[in-house]
Amino acid sequence: MIPIKTIPLEQIIQQALDGKESSLSRLITLVENETPEAAHILKTLYPHRKKAFRIGITGPPGGGKSTLVDRLALLARQQNLKVGIVCVDPTSPFTGGAILGDRIRMNKSAADPNIFIRSMAARGSLGGIARTTEEVAEVLEAAGKDLIFIETVGVGQSELDIFHAVDTVVVVLVPESGTGVQAMKAGLMEIAHLFVVNKADRPGASRIKQEIEDVLSLAPPLEWPPPVLLTQAYRGIGVKEVFDGCLNHKAFLEKNERHDYRLKKIEKKLRDLMLEKIEKEVFQKDKAKENLACFAQKIMEGVLDPYTAAEKWSKQIKKQWKEN
């Protein structure tokens, strides 16, 4: 077996910044796997980020998200933009395995050396993207990508993490995606900046477009009313309109630069990072395993209820922190 070449991390980072693809993909692996090097990599790359435009593509499985991303990426290339694509597919809750099959729909993009595609398994994360998808996008951004697509796993109604990870959210539906009542429901239908009804050659496409528009008109007028577009991504029909729609939304965001909104996003990110740290602090200690087993045993024996146990435990932790 050929051993992996051991190149110093700093050198890999520099090579990735200089555009070396294999180094970029190595860095992504280190970040994706939440290795001890990840924090250093992200810290080093942070100042190198250029403000890349991020487009999120979400919607039910099999709706044509990957195909649409493939075609959108090609349009972006016509404008000479460097493109990064991160596509997430689900991880088996039983085995931890995954089939990452988005790339198979991206053959056209895959042939372009200025398009970098990376697949990720969701690895237990339930919000539609993996826990480190945003960080992977940051790495791509630092490596000079101008436009980054993030494609979620096939989602239902409430996997909404994509909303905070990108600038523009495209929700891809199909003509069979239900009636106006579905469009009224909270969740997925609220986060779209653009609706796309793909596979629009099938019956019902203009009906569902109409119904989404009707539902949107029931609410008070929005600053950015999301357009509803019909596409046949496989044939490339309507894709240009989606791309232009994204650019329009980008222009809208730039004109209405919302500092409070950006600050909120940063706050959320920091909060998520802190939660991770606290989780590690609390649970990745031998004492925690002991505690967990001990309290669980008592709860099962009926000596303690879970609520009291949690209170006791958190008091213990607070005491420890004070002592430190």
């Binding site: 077996m1 294999s22 395995g97 089939i99 790339r103 895959a110």
Partner: protein, 135 residues
């Protein structure tokens, strides 16, 4: 550190018989691996490009159409060009015995023929995974 192998499964060339590749991809998924399934009608360039971007540990090529003596060495060569000869390439499908020795000599790490149990492939990869975790 424990690490999961990432494996790319694909078919290169003009051969649409993808049942075997799909069986392998599925069984590797069920064994807990992350599998990039690239499908049929790929070129060595496409496979190597994907392998580099995805930073996979292993490429598995299923081949039944007879062009393995051209396409497998080409894949190895491209990996080398990209500086990723550490990515292991294994193969399966219809490969005559006399070709097998030659391909193994060129650097294909393992060839699985007809009748191979998926469990054998999984065991082989689990062993690799263990070795990689140690390095």
């Amino acid at each position: 550190m424990e690490r999961k192998l990432k494996i790319l499964i694909s078919k290169i060339g003009l051969d649409g018989h993808d049942r075997g590749a799909k069986v392998i991809a599925r069984s590797l998924r069920d064994a807990g691996f992350e599998v990039i399934y690239l499908g049929i009608h790929q070129t060595p360039e496409m496979v190597v490009n994907a392998a580099v971007q995805e930073d996979v540990d292993v490429i598995g090529l299923s081949h039944l159409s007879g062009a393995h003596m051209t396409l497998f060495p080409k894949t190895l060569e491209l990996l080398k060009q990209k500086g990723r000869e550490d990515i292991l390439v294994m193969g399966g499908g219809i490969i005559p015995e006399e070709d097998k020795a030659e391909l193994l000599k060129l650097g294909i790490v393992k060839l699985f023929g007809p009748g191979t149990l998926t469990q054998d492939i999984i065991s082989y990869l689990k062993q690799l995974e263990k070795e990689k975790s140690l390095t």
